[in-house]
């Protein structure tokens, strides 16, 4: 009964299917492993890589994780591809991944290998511990907040950066000035961010709505699905810079210490990376990386890097 009709409609149908497939393919390009060759690194950070420090041969202990990485010739890093300022893949040049985490990962690769040979495995926040435990990745650079629960599953080098959660509201909102004004309000948070657990601790009466990605959360805020959006201060600052419909209010109300996730119990590797962190902090490389990434949206001097091992779990 339908053979004749279905023929007539086949052409537009095929077009529709193709559009959907194209959309899906575009969405998927951020997943899967991406080898990031040296040549493609972006212009602003090239100078950083040129005079980056390299570990002395004596530091690469025989039989250690460092030696295995050196033998393999590339550092396998779990890092995001969709985190602006931290680890963002350039959509027009997929080989270029830049940001604070991404640049540090490349500098670590130089420290071990002498060249920024990084293979990126995009992690989901929910799989980072598993990726480390089963040896899929060497290190995790993924705004990985150090907590004691996590420290029971993985080792943390660092902390290498300290940030905090802040509150953003719609530009025309004058009632909410800080976390203290969020009681009984609907608060948008990013799924799998520290805000999911921190906001209920600070404001038990707030209603939490979580969205998968930062752009979704921003859209939800500006469309009025919540009264406020609680997220990392730096990320909010960069959102507010490009989106005039929202603003950041007050100062950060928590301290999140980000660590470099390592396989549990690899104390040589942890010591090795902590030494590297101290070195790049001392010679000013850390500050330059910050200035080139997060520093572009925050109007302040280069912050003091956190002391290694200064938080429980590191």
């Amino acid at each position: 009964m339908f053979t004749s009709t279905s023929n007539r409609w086949r052409a537009p149908l095929v077009a529709a299917v193709f559009t959907t497939v194209a959309l899906a393919a575009a969405g998927c390009s951020s997943s899967g492993s991406t080898g990031v060759p040296t040549a493609a690194s972006s212009g602003s950070s090239d100078a950083l890589y040129k005079d980056a420090i390299v570990a002395k041969a004596a530091d690469i202990l025989p039989g250690s994780t460092m030696a295995a990485i050196k033998k393999r010739g590339k550092l396998i890093v779990a890092e995001a591809l969709d985190a602006p300022l931290l680890s963002q893949q350039d959509p027009s040049n997929p080989d270029s991944v830049t940001g604070f985490d991404a640049d540090l990962a490349k500098l670590l690769a130089i420290y071990i290998l002498g060249k920024p040979n990084v293979e990126i495995v995009p992690p989901a926040s929910e799989t980072r511990e598993a990726l480390l435990a089963n040896g899929t990745v060497d290190v995790v650079f993924n705004t990985y907040t150090i907590t004691t629960q996590r420290a029971a599953q993985v080792d943390f080098a660092g902390p290498y950066f300290e940030s905090g959660l802040a509150v953003a509201v719609k530009s025309d909102n004058t009632d909410i000035k800080s976390i203290d004004d969020l009681g009984g309000k609907t608060v948008i948070v990013g799924a799998n961010t520290p805000a999911v657990t921190t906001v209920p601790e600070k404001q038990p009466t707030a209603k939490i709505v979580s969205f998968g990605t930062d752009p979704e959360a921003v859209l939800a805020l500006t469309q009025g699905r919540g009264d406020a959006y609680v997220q990392d201060q730096t990320l909010l600052a960069s959102d507010a810079l490009t989106n005039k419909a929202m603003k950041v209010v007050g100062q950060p109300f928590t301290k999140e210490a980000y660590g470099i996730g390592l396989k549990l119990g690899d104390s040589d590797f942890k010591k090795f990376i902590n030494n590297w962190l101290v070195k790049i902090q001392k010679n000013g490389t850390w500050g330059k990386v910050w200035k080139a990434s997060l520093g572009t949206v925050v109007q302040s001097d280069i912050p003091t890097p956190p002391a290694i091992g200064s938080v429980p779990g590191s």
Partner: protein, 214 residues
């Protein structure tokens, strides 16, 4: 599993949300799906065409795309609904397309002779659809509809991406605190498996009860 038991209250609450979403969207999708099938086999060309377009649209657009559109694009058109009802409606209209395809295959099992007999006995079109075709078609496709319902339960997990706190979203949160992905997601998988098993067994039981012995 131990980790999930530590957070039992929250996990059970979220499981409740998943089940509520499944029940409402499930009933809704069966009702819409049957109506779409009726339109699809009706003698009115416009209705047939609309039903065909409906099924093709929802089968060919990914559910996640539909959810994101409903949650983030509708507010721009001035329609802003709470998240959970939005997700339930999207799930219902989406799965209805699959129910419709299952029921249509059931319609094809009803012999043409039956319709001719109905006409000979003076049934009009609506009567023969309602009293002869649809009841027999549904009896023939209990198990396929059961499979669509299992798929529906699995698809409720996608609602986590648009802010609905159902089972997947909740175990994500638990994992964020406890950092034990394998134990936690294996536990969640077992819960989904148990739900699917119950639906599958229920479908089998219903099928045996209503089967037409020819």
């Amino acid at each position: 599993m131990n980790v999930l038991i530590d957070h039992l209250g929250d996990v059970l609450g979220a499981l409740g949300t998943t089940l509520v979403m499944f029940l409402i969207a499930g009933v809704g999708s069966i009702v819409i799906g049957v109506l779409v099938t009726v339109a699809r086999v009706s003698p009115i060309p416009l209705l047939r065409w609309v039903a065909f377009a409906y099924v093709q649209f929802f089968i060919n657009v990914p559910l996640l795309a539909l959810l994101v559109l409903a949650v983030f694009a509708l507010p721009d058109a001035g329609i802003i609904a709470p998240l959970e009802p939005t997700a339930i409606v999207v799930l219902a209209v989406y799965e209805a397309a699959y129910v419709a395809e299952a029921v249509r295959s059931g319609v094809n099992t009803v012999a043409v002779g039956q319709l001719e007999a109905a006409r000979a006995l003076g049934f009009n079109q609506l009567q023969s659809l309602r009293l002869i075709v649809v009841p027999q078609a549904l009896r023939a496709v209990v198990q396929p509809i059961g499979n669509v319902m299992i798929a529906l339960v699995m698809n409720t997990a996608l609602a986590a991406a648009v802010g609905v706190v159902e089972l997947t979203s909740e175990v994500n949160k638990v994992n964020l605190i406890e950092a034990q992905p394998i134990a936690i997601f294996a536990g969640a998988g077992v819960i989904y498996m148990a739900i699917a098993l119950v639906i599958g067994l229920a479908a089998g039981w219903v099928e045996r009860r209503v089967a037409i012995v020819r």
